[in-house]
Symmetry: C2
Subunit: 381 residues, 2 copies
C-alpha cells in the first residue's frame, strides 16, 4: 500500500516503545517490526463513477436540502454559479435542533435512566441516555464531480476554509450547541460514502469526553506554567526538528511524537490562537496552500488514497478560553483499528513519526526543486 | 453489506440519542437515520488462497518460531498431529521480555523524557516514552488452511479456549507483565493480515488506561453498592430482555445498551467470576458452543465476513480483584472509524442495539427449529 519508492531504508531501532502524546495524553505503542508482516489480503475499492446521479453536482441542487451557505464562483458570468455549497446532511448523526420542539417525553434533554437497575442497589441508573440534537452539514467542495482536494486551486480551498469558518460561527450562535466538529473523510476506508469531494460539520449539544479532556490539559498547563501547551510542544518540535515536515508563514506541520496512526500530521498555527474561525483571510490562504501540498503527499503515499482530516477549534466552554490553541490533523488510512485497540483503546503504530517525517521530507524534495537545497538543519528553529 | 433478508423493518424511532455504556463509561451517539445513506464505494477483498506457502499450516512448522504450546489431536494416530499450536509472533507489537537484558540506555523501563521541553517552563517532560516489552503470540486454530472458526467442531473450539487459558496463566507468571489481551481479527477490514484461522495474545508491561478505567469502575461500584457492576447490568439486561440474543447454561449474550458499533455482542458468565483462565472445562465447552453459534450469525450478517472478538479477563492489578467479572465481545466490521470519531473519540452508531438484537433473534429462529417456539417473553428472566 505504501509506495516503496517513497520509503527510505527502515529505521535501525526495532524495539517497541510506549509513548505519551503531550497534547492528548493518549498512549501509543510503537512497533516498527510489525510493518514488515506478510499480507494475505488485498482490499480494492470500486467506485461508482456516476456523476449523473450525484446529488452534490451542480444542476442537482434540488437533490439536497436547501443551502445554508453558498460561496459564488467569481470567475463565472452565471450569477448562480457556485464554488462551495453547504447543505444539511440528509442522513444526520444528530437530530436537527428545533427551538420550538417540545421535549421528547421518553428522553429529556438531560441524562435520563432508560430503565431501572437491578434491585440489589438503589439511587443510580445503569442504562442512561439523553436525546442528542444539533446540526450535521455537508460542505460540497466543488460544483464538478471531483474526488480530490488537489484538483482545486488554493483560492478555491481558501473559500472552502472560509465556509468552514462561517458555519462554525453560525453554529456558535445556536442555543444548546457545545461542540462543533469539522472533518473530511476521503475513500471508503476512511468512512466516506460519496466520492464527490466534500467535508462535514457536526454540531452537538454535548461535548465529547476526549475533547473536554484535551481542553482541560491545555487549561491545566496554562494555569500551572503560564504557557500554552501547544506553543510549548511546537517549540519542542522545532528545536528537535526530526518530526517537522513543512513550514509556511503561519503554520508548522509535523508528525506528532506519539501519533496513533502512521503518517499522522498535525498542523499548528505558529502564533497562539484559540479559534480557527477567527483566522484572517491571509492565514486561511496560507493554510489552503499548505493543505493542498500535504494532501498531495498523502495521495502519493497511498493509491487509491483514503484519508481523513479533522479541525480542532476551541469548544464553547469557558474553561480553556485563553489556553486553547487550535490545530488540524491529517492521516492516511494505512492500518486498521483491530481487536487489541478495541479492548485497550491503545493504538499500535508500526511506523515511528521520525520515519514518517523522513518519507514526507523526501516527497517535499521531489515536489519542489527549491526544497532540495534545504538540509535537515533547515527544519530546526 | 448487511443481508437485507436478515433485516426486519427498521425501528420507528429516528431521533438521535446519546447513551452511556454502564460497563465502560464510554458515550456513543446512536443515529438510526444514518444507516440509510447511499454508498458510492464498494470494497472488495481479494484473498491469496496460497495454502502452499501458509506458515500456519501443518507441515510448515519450521516457518514459525518454536511452539510455546501444542494441543495434540486426540483423533489422529500420528503422535505429532496437533489441533492448536501457539507460537511467538514474528512481527511482534511488543519487544520480547528478556530477563537478562540490560536496560536500554536511551529508554529505561520507566517513563522517560525523550527530549527537553521548551525553555519557557521547567521540571516537566513533554515528550515521554518508555520501552515496552512483553509477549505477542499467535494461536493457530487448526492444522488445516481453514478461514472460519465455524469450520471447527465445538470440541476443537474448547481446546482453543483451553490454549487461551494456559497461555494467560503462563504470562501471569512472567515478571513485569501487567496486562494480557486475547483477541481474534478476521478479514482485512478487521485488521487481519493472514487468512488461516488464528487468534493472538499480547502481554504488556503496562496496563492500558481504558482497561484500568474499567477495572476502577467495577471496583468503585463494588465498594459503593456491595454488588458487581457486571452482575447488575446482566440482571438489568435479563429483566428488560430486548437486547438479549442467546442464553446457555453458563452465559448470556446480549447487544449492549450503548455498544460503540452495530451488532456488538457481549457474552457474560452468569455466575460472578473474575478470570476467564480459571473457568472449568465444562464452562469452556459451553462457551465454545455459544461462540460457534454467534460467529455463525456474524458470518451471515455480512459476506465476506470481517469481525473481531476480544476477551476481557481480570488485569493483574489488585484493585479490582473481587469486583472484576470477565467477559467477551464480538462485532462485525460494518462501519468505519472516521473523522468525527478520530477527533472526539465518540463513536456514531447507526444501529440501535434493540434492532440488532431483533436481527440476531431472527437468525436464531432460522437456526434452530426449537427456538421458533420461543417468544420475546422467553428472553426475559
Amino acid at each position: 500500500m505504501i509506495m516503496p519508492a517513497a520509503a527510505p531504508a527502515p529505521a535501525q531501532r526495532t524495539a517497541s516503545e510506549l509513548r505519551r502524546d503531550p497534547l492528548t495524553g493518549m498512549r501509543v505503542i510503537f512497533a516498527p517490526e510489525r510493518g514488515a508482516r506478510p499480507q494475505d489480503f488485498r482490499q480494492t475499492e470500486t467506485t461508482h463513477w456516476k456523476a449523473d446521479g450525484c446529488p452534490f453536482c451542480a444542476g442537482h441542487e434540488d437533490a439536497t436540502p436547501p443551502a445554508a451557505l453558498v460561496i459564488a464562483d467569481p470567475d463565472s458570468p452565471d450569477p448562480d454559479a457556485w464554488r462551495v455549497r453547504v447543505v444539511g446532511n440528509k442522513f444526520p448523526a444528530v437530530s436537527p435542533i428545533d427551538p420550538f420542539a417540545e421535549p421528547d417525553p421518553a428522553l429529556g434533554s438531560g441524562w435520563r435512566g432508560a430503565s431501572r437497575r437491578g434491585e440489589a442497589s438503589k439511587g443510580y441508573e445503569l442504562f442512561e441516555a439523553r436525546s442528542l440534537a444539533g446540526g450535521h452539514e455537508v460542505i460540497i467542495e466543488s460544483p464538478y464531480h471531483l474526488s480530490s482536494l488537489c484538483q482545486l486551486d488554493t483560492d478555491h480551498i481558501t473559500d472552502l476554509f472560509r465556509a468552514y469558518a462561517a458555519r462554525i460561527r453560525y453554529w456558535q450562535t445556536v442555543r444548546g450547541v457545545e461542540y462543533i466538529s469539522i472533518f473530511k473523510n476521503v475513500g471508503a476506508a476512511a468512512g466516506a460514502s460519496l466520492l464527490h469531494s466534500h467535508s462535514q460539520l457536526i454540531a452537538t449539544e454535548a461535548i465529547p469526553k476526549q475533547v473536554q479532556a484535551i481542553g482541560d490539559r491545555l487549561a491545566h498547563h496554562w494555569a500551572s506554567s503560564g504557557c500554552c501547551l501547544q506553543c510549548d510542544i511546537l517549540r519542542g518540535e522545532l528545536s528537535e526538528g526530526r518530526r517537522v515536515i513543512a513550514k509556511s508563514d503561519h503554520f508548522v506541520a509535523y508528525c506528532p511524537f506519539a501519533g496513533r496512526v502512521p503518517y499522522l500530521i498535525r498542523v499548528v498555527p505558529r502564533v497562539h490562537a484559540d479559534r480557527f474561525e477567527e483566522a484572517a483571510d491571509e492565514v486561511l490562504a496560507d493554510l489552503a496552500q499548505l493543505t493542498h501540498r500535504l494532501v498531495g503527499w498523502l495521495e502519493r503515499i497511498q493509491q487509491p488514497s483514503a484519508y481523513n482530516y479533522t479541525l480542532h477549534t476551541r469548544p464553547l466552554t469557558a474553561a480553556c478560553s485563553e489556553s486553547f490553541h487550535w490545530w488540524m490533523e491529517l492521516f492516511p488510512r494505512t492500518t486498521t483499528f483491530a481487536g487489541f485497540e478495541w479492548a485497550s483503546d491503545c493504538f499500535i503504530n508500526p511506523l515511528l513519526p521520525e520515519t514518517a517525517a523522513r518519507h514526507f521530507r523526501e516527497l517535499a524534495r521531489r515536489d519542489d526543486p527549491l526544497q532540495q537545497r534545504m538540509t535537515p538543519h533547515d527544519f530546526s528553529r
